[in-house]
Symmetry: C2
Subunit: 330 residues, 2 copies
Amino acid sequence: MTTTAVQYGIGPIGRRIVQVATARGIDFVGAIDIDPEKVGQDLAAVANLDTETGVTVTDDPDTALAEEPDVVFHSTLSDVTAITSQIEAAVAAGADVISTTEELSYPWYHQPDAAAELDEIARENGQTVLGTGINPGFAMDTLPAVLTTPCQDVESVQISRVQNASQRRKPLQEKVGAGLTEAVWEEEIAPEAGHVGLPESIAMLAAALDWDLESIEETIEPVVVETRTESEYFTAEPGDVAGIHQIGTGYVDGEPAIELDLSMFLGAENPRDEIEISGTPDLHVTVDGGFHGDVTTPAVVVNAAPRVQSGRPGLATMIDLATPRFAERP
Amino acid sequence: MTTTAVQYGIGPIGRRIVQVATARGIDFVGAIDIDPEKVGQDLAAVANLDTETGVTVTDDPDTALAEEPDVVFHSTLSDVTAITSQIEAAVAAGADVISTTEELSYPWYHQPDAAAELDEIARENGQTVLGTGINPGFAMDTLPAVLTTPCQDVESVQISRVQNASQRRKPLQEKVGAGLTEAVWEEEIAPEAGHVGLPESIAMLAAALDWDLESIEETIEPVVVETRTESEYFTAEPGDVAGIHQIGTGYVDGEPAIELDLSMFLGAENPRDEIEISGTPDLHVTVDGGFHGDVTTPAVVVNAAPRVQSGRPGLATMIDLATPRFAERP
């Protein structure tokens, strides 16, 4: 049986989800976006597919969801409270939902009311709702959790992720403030808190290990370059900002038990994901080059399709669903 | 609620399971072993625990299982057909079972009849049965499967595991033929096929990715040393055997899609687990030092306790249960 899907939100990430899902044999039966330039077009034109799909992009969710898709791929906003009604419409139409809304990857700690509401809506409709992506969703939470499986004891987990922003999409480079002066960066970028998701990853990892999380601290600072550094879109002159360095720390029993260190800036050398577990045994795992965000997020989303379809109704996390992996026929 | 357990088999691995589980707060209510030297002793004496448990080792499974444990940790033999009645007794007593029987990690490909029988017995009794350990069970199957999660496409998976046998327990060193002449090794070790589990890992990984596995090839050869190499227990003189080199290959669409390369020998330098995924994107992941088998197998087993207790009845695999991870309170 071919899985049918509706794409809800066709921005840079949504477009890639459509491409990856189509390549894997998923059949799109609807597409939703509010952008007037996309509405009325064939999904193929908006998502850069080679062949027409016969699916017209609409700004009316009900029209698209009336096609009763098996799955809705959802990629609109970062805030859970902003997307509750969108998720509700999808599950009411009988679809399981996979969303890239960062806060949805683990809303139970920071947004317990919204989480409980979404969980109830999903259960009532017998559908599974999952928030995921490469980060939050995999690199700094699910994978480190899996890597603790061979441990007799775990004292702390340190995760370091270095992404070369030059290799990422333009909006990502913009989001980290590439090419801004420090003054402008402090005014415009710092209050926006850069990457969204470190607190969610910390809360998810703590819950996965059954740890009682006491508090979370988060810091963000600019990465300032000494030599001119440029990408396809931006240039950072000496003294300018090339990107961000964020640290999230989760405290358990008064100790910094979970430390997430994330750097995304133009020209970052030796991009990688590094996971260090202090315990019995100590473990040190390196992903050479790191998981490239723009390539891997749509894959994580599409590969989750079989798992949400067989998952228990409710608001799920990457941890309580079946073990994540590539799906040849999602 | 404290989880109660019975240990079924108190050999080198079973003993470590008892140690790790006790340290994590699991309450042993029974212990089974056929060794007359162990029967009648307190479990603490047999498993090298500091304090007496009040649990007497028995050779009568029914006596131990009458305590109605939540979980049975099972560690007796490698062959599925040899342990069916043991598993049956455990699930009939109302226990979920976690076993280190290598073939049980994924018996569906090689032993479909035994797998179906065990699945039926487990379902009838409403219990979950899982075969696991570090290898098979995690290093060369579950972890590589999880690492494909961020992939848009996967062409092949190459896994290389190098263990320094000098750091492993004596029976393991014996099993790989450390210190034997090549002639004796060819006669005694080669027919025993060294490490048990490569075909199971290949079949499990193929199933996880939804690949149609056509065939499996397995080779084993001795690792011969040029210089004298010794461990606590054995010495390999120049020209003697220090251990084994095994390769398992799984074919999909006529291509070697899964390649497992395992070396275990005295004095192996740079022990490690290396996972290489050819796909979109390519991934290269290294676990420095590798997962030490004797330390990690009992951890993988104990950490699975919450997952089998909440899992669906039947014969499960590491893939279809919830995402594996360390359990602070198993």
